[in-house]
Symmetry: C2
Subunit: 305 residues, 2 copies
């Protein structure tokens, strides 16, 4: 089966390599020469532009940043749909609002293609091992056609319904939780440090108790290590919580906690930490209160306290 993966970033590269390992014929597409060289080195075909993928491609997996990039890669002047086989399946995995997912699905179906609204989660580590989670909606025909690709990249595929937009909805709601959990993990850890609690003991108690979240456990471990290399960056949550706000506004539904969290990620980004790991939104509280983060005790003085 001839497939294409468009976007060889943190998620796309792992997914493309997983497809290769599964024995699919894969063209990886990215503007970045470094990314293309890396994928070619692993034995994949490469393309610098979406309209340069192999003719007759039967499935295209899009792991780009948002709806606009997805639309451009499909239907733009250099879009890939002109290279797809009739009845090919488009697996759209960028995080986007449900309105965009429905619009792109309608456009794809009008052009004779199958469409899967298929956002993913799991991060770069799970993508690399072919163990992503896919939360998808689409027709049974679209799921069937996409199966070899989904089997290669994911260990869990949620089939959420036939209507495009349901996958996007569930993903946006998921990001609401993920974003607030990261921001409140930082708020709590910072308050504990300010109060004189031992950060490691605080972490140990919380992760064994009812106050735990997946994000607290994962992201505060990085803060304790002082490791701010981005697995997922602050700016991703500026964007994703923006999608939450946009979707909620369209539904006349207030989201006070998500809105507050977005302001905190925006503050971190404004400070120049947009590309730091998202748990380092804690630097907003550090800037305000002068707390020392673990491993940084010698680096700055407490202005007060």
């Amino acid at each position: 089966m001839q497939v294409a993966v468009i976007g060889l970033g943190a998620m796309g590269m792992g997914a493309a390599l997983s497809c290769l390992r599964a024995g699919l014929a894969v063209t990886g597409c990215d503007f970045s020469e470094t990314a293309r060289d890396s994928f070619a080195g692993a034995g994949g075909q490469v393309a610098a532009s979406a309209d340069a993928i192999a003719p007759g491609t039967q499935a295209v997996l899009l792991l780009v940043v948002n709806a606009a990039q997805t639309e451009a890669a499909l239907f733009g002047p250099a879009g890939c749909t002109k290279r797809l086989a009739p009845g090919a399946v488009i697996i759209a995995s960028a995080t986007m609002g449900p309105d965009d997912a429905r619009r792109l699905a309608a456009r794809a179906e009008a052009a004779g293609f199958l469409y899967l609204d298929a956002p993913v989660s799991g991060g770069a580590a799970k993508a690399a091992t072919g163990e992503m989670t896919v939360m998808a909606s689409g027709s049974p025909a679209a799921f069937a056609k996409a199966k070899p690709v989904l089997d290669a990249v994911a260990t869990k595929v949620w089939e959420l319904g036939e209507a495009p937009g349901i996958g996007a909805t569930v993903k946006v709601v998921h990001q609401l939780l993920a974003g607030v959990h990261i921001a409140v993990a930082a708020e709590a850890m910072s308050l504990g440090i300010r109060a004189g609690a031992d950060p490691q003991k605080l972490y140990d108690v919380v992760t064994s108790a009812a106050g735990n979240s997946w994000m607290f456990e994962n992201r505060m471990a990085r803060v304790l290590e002082g490791d701010d290399a981005p697995r997922s960056a602050v700016d991703i949550f500026v964007k994703d919580l923006g999608l939450v706000a946009q979707m909620a506004r369209g539904l006349d539904h207030p989201v006070p906690l998500a809105s507050q969290a977005q302001q905190l990620f925006t503050a971190a980004s404004a400070m120049g930490h947009g590309r730091a790991d998202d748990g380092f939104v804690i630097r907003v509280w550090q800037a305000l209160t002068g707390i020392a983060l673990p491993g940084e005790n010698q680096k700055r003085e407490k202005p007060k306290g």
Copy 2:
């Protein structure tokens, strides 16, 4: 060993029964005749007032609502300290701010008693089975003296340091996380329902993914069942997030997410849901948007959407 448990509520009754099962001589104290009758029926001694516990009591476990009740039960006109043996240990388990914990510890130590700053978590279910988690600070002598009681009521005792106030600090930070996690669980579930997602499928996806929290998993299960009988009530988080705000203000540390969550629990309480299970803070969004909660589809009409 002669012990007393003051406060036979959701947590205290379970703890008192656990002490009985462990073979300790236990006086259970509560203003409520119903609670006393229940504990007497299980074979315990009872007291209607803290100054009526057995003379020479060597350990007193306080599971009352807050610092004021703790102080009254110890040092008030009908306080229990006059009945304690010299060198008895006071195990103060109500959630309170660290300043109150330090003040009560100093007063207890000045009167010749040992003091453990020992808030608990686990809920009524874990209290009933003697499986609470205790997050405690105090002197080695206080931990040693309290050991028979702690062994009876808890499976995990965190020894967080010698200074009173550390236990309270960790508990307050824990409640910050717990409260925000419950409120954002409700915000997300409500938004998902409003957007037309199936609530059960949304729950299944989130609880298997990185957006999960202990509270989302536990409390939204009750919302899906339509079961608002309080295991922990909305008003508990109005109070505990108030403690968070008080502690944070004293430390010059902003807590925007905790403050927003407290306003949401306050709104639920204002609507008359203060004694409902805390996950039913979702009724704030229901009131604003007219969503139908699971099991309530026939009970109210959507005003819009």
